[in-house]
Amino acid sequence: MTQLPVIAAQHLCIDYKLDKQWINAINGVSLAINPFETHGLVGESGSGKSTLALALMRYMAANARIESGEVLFYGENLLVKSDAEMRRIWGRQMSLVPQDPLAALNPAYPIGEQIAEITRLHEGLSRPAARQRAFEVLERVRIADPEAVARKYPHQLSGGMQQRVNIAMALSTQPKLLVLDEPTTALDVTTEAVILDLFRSLIQENRGAALYVSHNLGVIAQMCDRVTVLYAGEVMACAPVDELYANPLHPYTISLLASIPRPLSGHETRLPTIPGVAPSLAERPRGCVFAPRCPVALQQCFDEKPPLEEPGPGRLVKCHRWREITEGMLAVETPHEPMADTSQHPAPTGEGYVLNVEGLSKRYGSHTLFSRLNGDKSRFVQAVDDVAMRVRARSTLGLVGESGSGKTTLARCIVGLETADDGRILLLDVIIPNALRRRSRAFLRELQMVFQNPNDTLNPYQTVGQALGRTIRRLKTEPLTPEHIQARVIDLLAAVRLTPDYAGRYPAELSGGEKQRVAIARAFAANPALVVADEPTSALDVSVQAVILNLLKDLRAREGASYLVISHDLAAIAYLADWIAVMYLGQIVEEGSTEQVYNIPSHPYTEALLSAIPAPDPRIKQGNVRLEGEVPSAAHIPRGCRFHTRCPRKIGAICEQEEPPWREAGSGHRIRCHIPIEDLIVLQNSAP
């Protein structure tokens, strides 16, 4: 280990100024990335991972300052360099691939110009030469028609293409250090898989070092050689990737790995969770920062900060008890909250169906006078096309698909936020009107929704008690006294494991997970028969996600409700759902029990979705079925099988001309494909 690290932080402390007060965000972090290494930096939101990553490039937010420490780039301290000196390093020797690919590009300039200005600046290329170079780097990121793309503006490209452009920009000068800050978080899982493949080969080619920042333990496992775990601005552990996942030493790492839902494992049990929330940086604990949430914390842990020790070559851990953990003397049992009492509703699946949807369709855009006045061509966007599905009593239907598949529109039609153009919706065997304003109070009561982003769903000027009370009053079946309502609010809070004093709090005083619990409590205010949840955990951190998933499962058992859960996260949904429907371009292409859908045979689209999941285990390699191209626009749905433009298993002209039939694979498992079930089994079994 005598080689000089490409970049190293030494005892770095960074403060942020918030409300005229300096708050310590990064506290004494040391980190070194060697040549040719891809170093993972993993942590939950608020852990300071983006701050740290940018600080390694000596880029600070306006309200941040480096309190102490050094950042060494090939041994040279960047913190003493002038801006002019940094400008010769930025873009030439180190570059960034950002999180939000669209926002990171200037909306006013064509792609080509934005790439070319880098080589004009750093290599003194002439305008035509720089343009030529831009085409070359666009080709390197596997863009088929670089000259056409170079002329486009950022908003004209899809998310995956935008991120390729950002990568091309970052690689146009062959930097020594590449910082990737959550580069695939904003992308669909299938696009993510393609971009991750691209990173692997490009990082190899570039022969520099890379820092890969992510909250996603799956992506980190698949991409990195070594991993640093950050919590509340401090390094908890650092290890080679295989050791970190196979043999974690820090209780935080152990808990975090345990709380990830994995498809088809632990389906019957509760997910282990990490209690509490990350500490507010303004009140950093005196001892170990993780102690308040640690299942094995001792009094010593609260009193005294543990040192960063080296339990083995290339490993670091910051815990008082790592020796006991290594020797197997101490098992970190993440707390299993008691499973809710399910005796009242013993069978998970009841008789009959709560929800029955038949032939549901939703189109946007129409041939109105207004649209003609505006000169629009009459373009229909067929968001949902003739969908039939059923939700069994006391069970969960999971609806999965990429963005643009129409899954959210379908859910909104069912709840009534959008009015379906065609089709019938039966709730508890009664047809309910498609339009919300024609639905009676009773239907509203039975059909509730939980939204994706809890920050936007609660009125910031109402306390939690007021918000819940209002829903209870709106949906009540009999007159209620204020005391009754108060009591019901406290019941609901208890059901989502919040203490009664939360009734007096405003949303701004709650964490993201707590807000989502309130939103769930609100949905259960009137004992609904069906709760529609649109990506209920995708805005939350891993450790919080586990709490919400458990809670949803408990509530289903306790309240006897059914769920329609929409998600792009196939692992999380496998944990919740009994039955899965896979949607593509407005149609359901496969449905079956969770086991059936996650196993062979599957629809080629489902196969690609499953193959794209980055497993949170470096020993399990990502599948290699990839989808080429983009989801076609719903305004121009392909003829025949709508998946044929991207299908890796397309068999011929029939796919382009005829709509595929539903094929039965047994016990209600159905696949809409031209390939017979037996052939699918053979094909998918022989897949490498």
Binding site: M57, D83, R87, W90, L96, A104, Y109, N166, M169
Partner: protein, 316 residues
């Protein structure tokens, strides 16, 4: 894009048609008998009747409107009741020319000043520079134009006589020196009103853009600060500013009533006030039509400019 512009021009024509009806209706509501007003209390009934017949005041209102509109469109804007009783059109078009000169001078002063002030304030957010610019621009906006106008006249035109600036502005001849001499004071007065608003808007626009991730991308490319600001940030930050400047053009043509009066400058605003005072019906109608036309045109220009400069709209 072309379709968009054509559509907007059609919309402009519809707007003009509707406003013409409103203007006509309003002028009908003016109290008092125009003929008696013009000819005076002692006019004989015959004279009044002759006057009404001559100017078509006896016809039913819709007929009067139709006649007026057809004539207006074909370029016959009627005759003035007062003075030489000459045709209205040359009178008004002369004044349009004068107003355009003043508007141009105002923009030449206001645009660079307010944009630079806005950028300076944004780049030094929450420092004394920012506070000073805010204070200055807000206090200038708060002052009525006749106050700033009178201060400038008394302080500069009458006070600093060495500069040789006139207290009342005449229409400049076609030399740069005369343009500056005649128009600088009224233009500064009008620019003050704009600068306060436009510099605040520019400041807000720049601050908004500075927070966006693409600015970080530009900095991390290693671009010099000048290029980051002037090439990347301003290109986006100035979009709302440009729209507001374009809209303010309508105000500069027809809305400088106070300033033109203070400086005794023969613009459209001054003519409008005269016409109102004298109940000079056809002049008033023509001036208001022209003013509204320029307002509508300014709005159209603003929208088209915004669309042209913003690729997200241009390429839809």
């Amino acid at each position: 894009m072309l379709r968009y512009i054509i559509r907007r021009i059609l919309l402009l024509i519809v707007t003009m048609f509707i406003t013409s009806a409103i203007i006509f209706a309003l002028t009908q509501l003016v109290p008092g008998d125009v003929a008696r007003l013009i000819l005076g209390r002692e006019a004989s009934p015959e004279a009044l009747e002759q006057f009404r017949a001559e100017f078509g005041l006896n016809d039913p209102a819709p007929v009067q409107y139709a006649n007026w509109l057809v004539k207006f469109v074909t370029g016959d804007w009627g005759r003035s009741f007062t003075g030489t009783q000459g045709p209205v059109r040359p009178l008004v078009t002369d004044r349009i020319g004068n107003s355009l000169r003043l508007a141009l001078m105002t923009l030449v002063i206001a645009i660079p000043a307010s944009v630079l002030l806005g950028i300076a304030a944004a780049l030094r957010e929450n420092t004394w520079v920012d506070s000073a610019i805010s204070l200055l621009s807000l206090s200038v906006v708060g002052l009525p134009e006749f106050v700033t106008g009178l201060v400038l006249i008394n302080g500069i035109a009458l006070g600093a006589r060495a500069l040789g600036l006139p207290a009342t502005s005449a229409v400049p001849d076609n030399t740069l020196a005369d343009w500056i001499r005649q128009l600088i004071l009224p233009a500064i007065t009008a620019a003050f009103v704009l600068i306060g608003y436009v510099s605040r808007l520019t400041r807000a626009g720049v601050l908004d853009e500075l927070k966006k991730p693409y600015v970080r991308t530009a900095i991390l490319k290693g671009l010099p600060r000048r290029q980051v600001i002037f090439k990347h940030v301003l290109r986006n930050a100035l979009l709302p500013t440009i729209t507001v400047i374009a809209i303010s053009f309508g105000w500069l043509i027809g809305g400088l009533v106070v300033i033109e009066n203070v400086y005794n400058y023969p613009g459209l605003g001054a003519l409008m006030v005269e016409a109102v005072k004298q109940k000079n019906l056809f002049v008033l109608q023509a001036v208001v039509m022209v003013t509204i036309f320029f307002f509508a045109l300014a709005n159209l220009t603003a929208d088209v400019l915004y669309a042209v400069l913003n690729p997200r709209i241009r390429l839809e």
